[in-house]
């Protein structure tokens, strides 16, 4: 028999209490693991944003168009390195439920501004010379089983052609990879020129302008200069860094981060109270036994260690099972086609696992410290008299 055996026996002496406490902790870490992964997936676009990239959108909101003439005007502003433009196509493949996020872009400048899109030279050449050509992210290509040379119909739930059809026939010129494996590649790029010439709304409008600056330190002055230039025009602009833009986009859905943090914090606080009370009660019921251990010669420090370890083991037991189930749920959710489209980076990261284990240890320490301290300070005579 050793300390571990004694801890195990004390933990399992009241199986109902152990079960209820473990389930409470399990739920807390299930929530933390799953919602934390969800939060990270939502925020991954923000984290992976380039430092020197700015996004210019219509000041009213980003769904409102801007004139294409802005491209050259912005190019002329000091500190601007490169300018591209993009439109939201709103594509789907065969059926509306097969969402295929598609942007109509100025191909050459877009590939320059987004240097983190990796496309081999042959594919690039093919795409630039074929107006009906598209390039597809490797994630999207793998989801649909597409390869280079495939002809695919891409439909828009916003735009239509002169002939009334809302489906464009495209040829896959290339499949691109991300420079950073975590960058989302679940989208398609098509030629703006082809899109603009074939859609019946016309208008030479663009959706937004991604630009790069000569240096990230110039971001603010360049953004101010752009917005100043178009102030009081019919299409005022709002320029922000890519990370700010992505964050603002996410906040259209609500402050997800705050909601998730709130839910998890409320869960943890409740569990802290429940498990803390239970641990205190558990130790209080064993006052005489603790006194006997001390009488036998167990030092106060050792008694403290035994009680605190019980609490730590309890937190780890419930927490690790909860985290495992959360991992299982995250994996399951990431296989769902719709969620896959919305949150391509839905994974349980190493950060979440490490954070969870740290929180488990903290939970165990906080809930176990006071009972362990009381046990350490327990007066043998008082405790035996109470018996």
């Amino acid at each position: 028999m050793n300390n571990l055996y004694l801890i195990f026996k004390n933990l399992t002496r009241n199986k109902l209490r152990l079960f209820l406490n473990s389930v409470a902790i399990l739920i807390a870490f299930l929530l933390f693991g799953f919602l934390g992964s969800l939060k990270n997936a939502f925020e991954s676009g923000v984290e992976l944003s380039a430092d020197d990239r700015l996004i210019v959108v219509n000041k009213i909101n980003f769904t409102q168009p801007l004139p294409i003439s802005y491209v050259n005007k912005i190019k002329a502003i000091e500190g601007v390195k490169d300018v591209s433009h993009a439109n939201w196509f709103g594509g789907y493949y065969q059926e509306p439920r097969n969402q295929a996020m598609t942007f109509a872009v100025d191909a050459e400048s877009y590939l320059r501004v987004y240097g983190d899109i990796v496309l081999d030279e042959n594919s690039k050449k093919t795409w630039l010379t074929n107006q009906q050509g598209i390039i597809v992210g490797e994630r999207m290509a793998s989801v649909h089983g597409w390869s280079v040379g495939d002809r695919i119909p891409l439909s828009s739930n916003i735009f239509s052609q002169d002939n009334g059809s809302n489906t464009w026939n495209m040829i896959i010129s290339g499949i691109f990879q991300p420079a950073n494996p975590q960058t989302d590649t679940n989208f398609i790029l098509m030629h703006y020129k082809y899109f603009n010439e074939t859609q019946k709304w016309g208008g030479n409008n663009i959706g937004w302008l991604p630009i790069t600056t000569d240096d990230p330190s110039l971001n603010q002055s360049v953004a101010d200069a752009i917005d100043k230039q178009f102030a009081n025009s019919s299409a005022e602009t709002e320029t922000s860094t890519e990370s700010q833009f992505n964050k603002a986009f996410l906040e259209q859905l609500g402050d997800i981060s705050l909601i998730i943090t709130g839910v998890v914090a409320a869960g943890f606080f409740t569990i802290l109270l429940v498990v803390g009370t239970s641990m205190a009660q558990n130790v209080s019921e064993r006052t005489a036994e603790i006194a006997v251990l001390k009488t036998l010669g167990f030092t106060s420090k050792r008694v403290f260690g035994l009680i605190l370890s019980e609490s730590l083991f309890l937190a780890l037991l419930g927490g690790l099972v909860g985290l495992f189930l959360a991992g299982f749920m995250v994996t399951g959710a990431s296989q769902d086609p719709q969620l896959k489209n919305m949150l391509p980076n839905l994974i349980m990261s190493q950060d979440i696992v490490v954070q969870s284990v740290v929180y488990m240890l903290m939970l165990g320490f906080i809930t176990g410290f006071i009972p362990a301290w009381r046990a350490m300070k327990l007066n043998i005579i008082d405790a035996l008299n109470r018996n």
Binding site: M1, N2, N3, Y5, L6, K9, N10, T12, R13, A288, E289, V292, L293, K294, T295, L296, G297, F298, T299, S300, K301, I380, I381, L384, N387
Partner: protein, 244 residues
């Protein structure tokens, strides 16, 4: 029987404070216990016999005076040093057995050995010997709730002797048992005293139980009132300064 002094109490006083009132349990108590003695301490409730036992066992400290164990004072030892001293020299037997309910007899007996540096095989052997000595070799795997009161007290005795301590302190060891079982337990204590040379100090209310000891001390109002010395094992050297 040895003439070697094991315990000596010198002018030991114990006072408690309850609110503004200070209660004196005993004052300037002197007592000497030799190795191999079997001393029973009798007295009415509140006479201080359990307090005395607790002080001898190093779980309580005197307000003043000195307690010498093999000529070394123990009253100034720190809590941690006293815990180590108890683990090395003392075995305790309680009225209500105080076994760990989640551990079987074998594991309960093994508890004091967790404080010793012994191999697993040595521990098993010691536990088996102790359980066999108290006649519970076949009940090793039973939980306390599966044992009778007498059997639980035997497990407690096995736990007290498993680490081969010099001293056994028994606080009303038969207080919760019927007469026949109590006699068995007392005979066992007598055996441990006579055949294994354990020094035993036993607190009891029961005059029949006290008869099993070689020396019986009556404690009342903080002083030893009377000393009954039985036969040739009457080795206790007791000095009563306040004897009435």
């Amino acid at each position: 029987m040895s003439d070697e002094l094991l315990f000596e109490l010198k002018k030991v006083s114990k006072k408690f404070t309850r609110g503004k009132e200070t209660i004196s349990i005993f004052e300037d108590l002197n007592l000497a216990i030799k190795k191999g003695d079997f001393v029973s301490i009798m007295g009415p409730s509140g006479s201080g016999k359990t307090t005395l036992l607790n002080m001898l066992g190093g779980v309580d400290k005197p307000t003043s005076g000195s307690i010498l164990f093999e000529d070394h004072p123990i009253e100034n030892l720190s809590e941690s040093e006293l815990a180590k001293w108890r683990a090395a020299h003392v075995g305790f037997i309680f009225q209500f057995y105080n076994l760990m309910p989640m551990l079987n007899a074998e594991k309960n007996v093994e508890l004091p050995l967790m404080l010793k540096k012994l191999s697993s095989a040595q521990r098993k052997k010691s536990v088996a010997t102790a359980l066999k000595l108290v006649g519970l070799g076949e009940r090793a795997k039973h939980l306390p709730k599966e044992l009778s009161g007498g059997q639980q007290q035997r497990v407690a005795i096995a736990r007290a002797i498993v680490s081969d301590p010099d001293l056994l302190f028994c606080d009303e060891p038969t207080g919760d048992l019927d007469r026949a079982t109590a006699t068995e337990i007392l005979e066992m204590l007598q055996l441990l005293n006579k055949d294994f040379g354990k020094t035993i100090v036993m607190v009891t209310h029961d005059p029949e139980a006290a008869k099993f000891a070689s020396t019986c001390l009556h404690l009342d109002k903080g002083i030893f009132e009377r000393q009954d010395i039985k036969g040739e094992r009457a080795t206790i050297t007791e000095t009563v300064e306040n004897e009435s």
